[in-house]
Each structure stands twice: as structure tokens, then as C-alpha cells.
Subunit: 280 residues, 2 copies
């Protein structure tokens, strides 16, 4: 895939990393950055992440072959709708949001026929923010999920798959709803649990919170407004995931109440097996 | 503190790190290692962690000024009792176990008058195992909790405090029961939760578990038999901690059920504040 002009909307850690990776791998000729924050654009320009910065997305949209929206999940659909009419025919629009069904649903049947939107979610990131944390290798060997609908143009899907693979990513294709149910378990529930653990730590005990607590709660340092958007957009799947965790907690509770070492050991052994299978 | 002969019982990651740190900081002349596994002793000898290895603790006990038991929490008290009679007068015995009350209770009034046991818990470690992961800097700037009883010889407590400070650690002194209640929240509950999260991940979704899931569940890779001992020894405090977490989970659940973005944001913001206060 050889892209003349790529536009990144939201030049933070994810958007900046996409720009850097696309540049360093020679996939794009020119990268335009759109952000509501001029200081972020200036920083991204200074870091060589983008070639030009825009506060207004329309002039960037007119010149782009591909636009990637790396903004909060609850802003993406409206931003896509706002630029769609300004796009050149054949422009491919995608995003990097952690939820997919609500976005895909809001855009279905509402875009001009000459542009295509396909949802993307690169499973990579960090609790950090801003273009200075951008990393050209962020997507290497990570999975990116694409969520086409039955109406999606197959040629556009192949182009988008080629783009993410070009950034070093492995691509998985599934319906948006399936993505959201899966990510509720693999990402949103862990974020909720990490945050809940922080909620039970009294300030007086912070000094006694060592590596274990820090690892387990690291993601709770993520931006609350971004995660509020993710939680509320994926509310149903997250609410369905929560009882599965509570059931597990009850299993530990019952094993402890019964002082049943064998049962505790069996639970921990099964958990270790799963964790070991994930690698570092 | 200048120690002629230090004995480490259980030459794994923690025991090996104590030995290395004590050597490199010039606190000890000679380090003896006791382990039930000859291969571990050979590895520790080859790595320069210990000077001599013993399968039987008694000959090492006879020659030691300080013995540190770095074995599973449910083995420590019996191991201390087994060597106490063989120790020279004035020998200081301690441990590195993650629970304290049960160990301290089992040893109270059961040791000869000429030896002293004081519980220690260095808040440092990893899910890894074995002397090859020993790290002379493991305790630098980490907290070590000491849990004397009203009967503890104050001079011995000062000696032990000097030892851990000599390894680079900051020392906090508190009753064993207070330690156990605190660690139930800062360490044992996170371990339980990380393991419970692994329990809800179906094998088919492993591929979609990215950095967030991996960080949050990293400690679940810890040795199940060690953690079964910790959980059962600190059963009461852990069972008391669990409802605090469930209460937090319910707060998220209610906020989501009500589709109350402000409430979700407030919970996540409070959690982030706590996590940010811990540092990396």
C-alpha cells in the first residue's frame, strides 16, 4: 500500500505512533495531523511525527486518501460524520477506538457512497498520553481487530488490512459486537478491576503497596475521561462481564471460608496456567 | 552491622538477593545457603551467591550469627523451631515471609532464651523464581516491615533494623496483625484479583489480551503453592478485604446501570489519583 496523504485525527500516543510507524516503514508520502490542541500539533511537528498540523479537519480531509481517527471513542462517530462530505471520492476512514459496535452503528447508512468507514482497534497502547510517547514499533506483532459490516466494500477492507499489516500488526477480522464482548473481558473489565483495587487502598497504606499492587493497578492511571467513554459505550458487555469476575471471587471466598487448601491451590494453578500462556 | 556468618534458608530469588546485597555492601564475611534442593545450592554457588551449601540446616545454624528464612510462609515456623536448639547463643533469626501473625504466634514462647526471632517482610519480589533472578538491588529504597512483639529484645530489633537498612531498605515497625491486615489489601487481594481475572479469560480470547490485561494479571504467574500458603495463613484478613473490593465493583456496576457518566468518571478519577500517588 502506498499512501499519498495520511491524516491522523488526534495526535496523541496512538495517533503519533501510527504516523511514525507509517513513515518509518515507507507507507506514506505525507502525514497531516488534526488536533484540537495547537500545542500538541506543535509538539508533533517538532518531533517529526506529522508534516502539517490543522485545528480544522476539513482541509486535511480534502487532501487525504486515508484518515485515522485516534480520538476518544465517544467523539469518533461525530467527527467522521463532520468530515465525510469534504472527503475526496475513494477516501478510506477508520479509527483506533477501544469500542466498536456503537461507532459502527452510528455511521451505518449515514456516509456518502464515495467514502468508506471500517472500524479498527489496534490492541496496543499505554496509560501514558501525548505525541512524545509515540513509538514507531507500538504495533509490531500486536493484533489489530477490524470490524467490517456485511455492507463493507471488500476492496476497502483489503486496503485497510494491508495498512495495519504494513505497520507490523497482525489483523483479525470480526463483527463489532463480537469485538466488544471480547474486549469487555480482555481490557475493560481489567481496567475496572484495577481502578476498583485503587479504590480500596487507604492513603495510609500506600507505602506498603509494592510491585504487585503497582503492576496490577498500572492501567488505572489511564485518562478517566477516555475510559468513561469506553465504559459507557461498552456498557452492556461490561455489565455482562462483571458477574463472571464476581463468580470467580466467590470461588476464592468459599475455598478460603472452608479453609480448603486444595481448592485454593487449584484456583491459583489454573490462573497461573492461563497467565503463563500469555507470555510476558 | 558486621556479620561473621549469615545463613540463608531457601536460596531463591529473595534469599539469593539478600545474600548478594549483604555481600556487595560488605555486611557479611561468609554466607551459608540451606536448601532442600542440591541443584539450587549448586546454582547459587556457581553464581557466587553463597560460599557453602547445605541440605541439612543444623551445621549451618551452629555457625551463624544471623539466619534468614526465605521459605514458604507455612514452612517457616517449623523450620525455625527445628534449628533453634542448634544455634549459638545470641543468634538472631528472621524471615522474609509475606504473612507475619501466624509465624510470630507459632514461635512465641517456644524458642530457647538464647536466640531471638523477629519477623521481617521485605516488600520486594517478583513472580519469578530461583537464584538466577537474585538481584543485589532488590531492596534498595523498598520498605521492609519488622514485626516485634512486646517480648522482643530491643537490642536485637536494632540489630535487625540495621541489617535491612544495610541492604538499602527502609524499615517500618508494626505489630504482626497490623502488617497482615495491611498486606491483605496491598498484596494478597491484588494477587487474588489478578488470578480471578485470569479465571474469566477463555482460551479463545487470549490473543486479544494485550498490555493492560498482562500488567493487571502479571502476579498471577506466581507460584501457586507459595500463594496458597499466604492466602490460608492470612485467611481472616483476606476474607475481610474481599468485601471492600466487591463494594467498589458494585459502585461501578450501579454507575453503569444508571448510565451515569459523572459517577463513572468520579470513580475512575479517584482511582487514577491513588495510582498516580504510587508512582511507577
Amino acid at each position: 500500500m502506498n499512501i499519498n496523504t495520511l491524516t491522523i485525527v488526534g495526535v496523541g500516543l496512538i495517533g503519533g505512533s501510527i504516523a511514525l510507524a507509517a513513515r518509518q516503514r515507507g507507507l506514506v508520502r505525507r502525514v497531516l495531523g488534526v488536533d484540537r490542541n495547537q500545542a500538541t500539533l506543535d509538539e508533533a511537528l517538532a518531533l517529526g511525527i506529522i508534516d502539517e498540523g490543522f485545528l480544522n479537519p476539513l482541509p486535511a480531509a480534502r487532501r487525504s486518501v486515508l484518515m485515522v481517527f485516534c480520538t476518544p471513542v465517544d467523539a469518533i462517530a461525530a467527527q467522521v460524520l463532520a468530515v465525510a462530505d469534504a472527503c475526496s471520492p475513494g477516501t478510506l476512514l477508520t479509527d483506533a477506538g477501544s469500542t466498536k459496535a456503537a461507532i459502527v452503528r452510528q455511521l451505518e447508512d449515514r456516509l456518502p457512497a464515495y467514502v468508506t468507514f471500517i472500524g479498527s482497534h489496534p490492541l496496543a497502547g499505554s496509560e501514558k498520553r501525548g505525541p512524545r510517547f509515540a513509538d514507531a514499533h507500538l504495533f509490531s506483532n500486536r493484533v489489530t481487530v477490524l470490524t467490517p459490516t456485511p455492507a463493507t466494500d471488500p476492496a476497502a477492507l483489503v486496503r485497510l488490512q494491508g495498512f495495519w499489516q504494513g505497520l507490523g500488526s497482525r489483523v483479525r477480522i470480526m463483527p463489532a459486537e463480537e469485538h466488544d464482548r471480547a474486549l469487555a473481558l480482555t481490557s475493560h473489565l481489567p481496567h475496572l478491576v484495577a481502578s476498583a483495587l485503587c479504590g480500596v487502598l487507604p492513603p495510609a497504606l500506600r507505602e506498603l503497596a509494592a510491585t504487585g499492587f503497582r503492576d496490577t493497578t498500572r492501567i488505572a492511571a489511564g485518562d478517566p475521561s477516555i475510559w468513561t467513554g469506553i465504559f459507557t459505550q461498552n456498557r452492556d458487555a461490561l455489565l455482562a462481564a462483571l458477574p463472571l469476575l464476581v463468580e470467580q471471587l466467590q470461588a476464592y471466598r468459599h475455598a478460603l471460608l472452608a479453609d480448603d487448601r486444595t481448592a485454593v491451590d487449584a484456583l491459583l494453578t489454573q490462573a497461573k496456567r492461563t497467565r503463563d500462556a500469555l507470555g510476558n
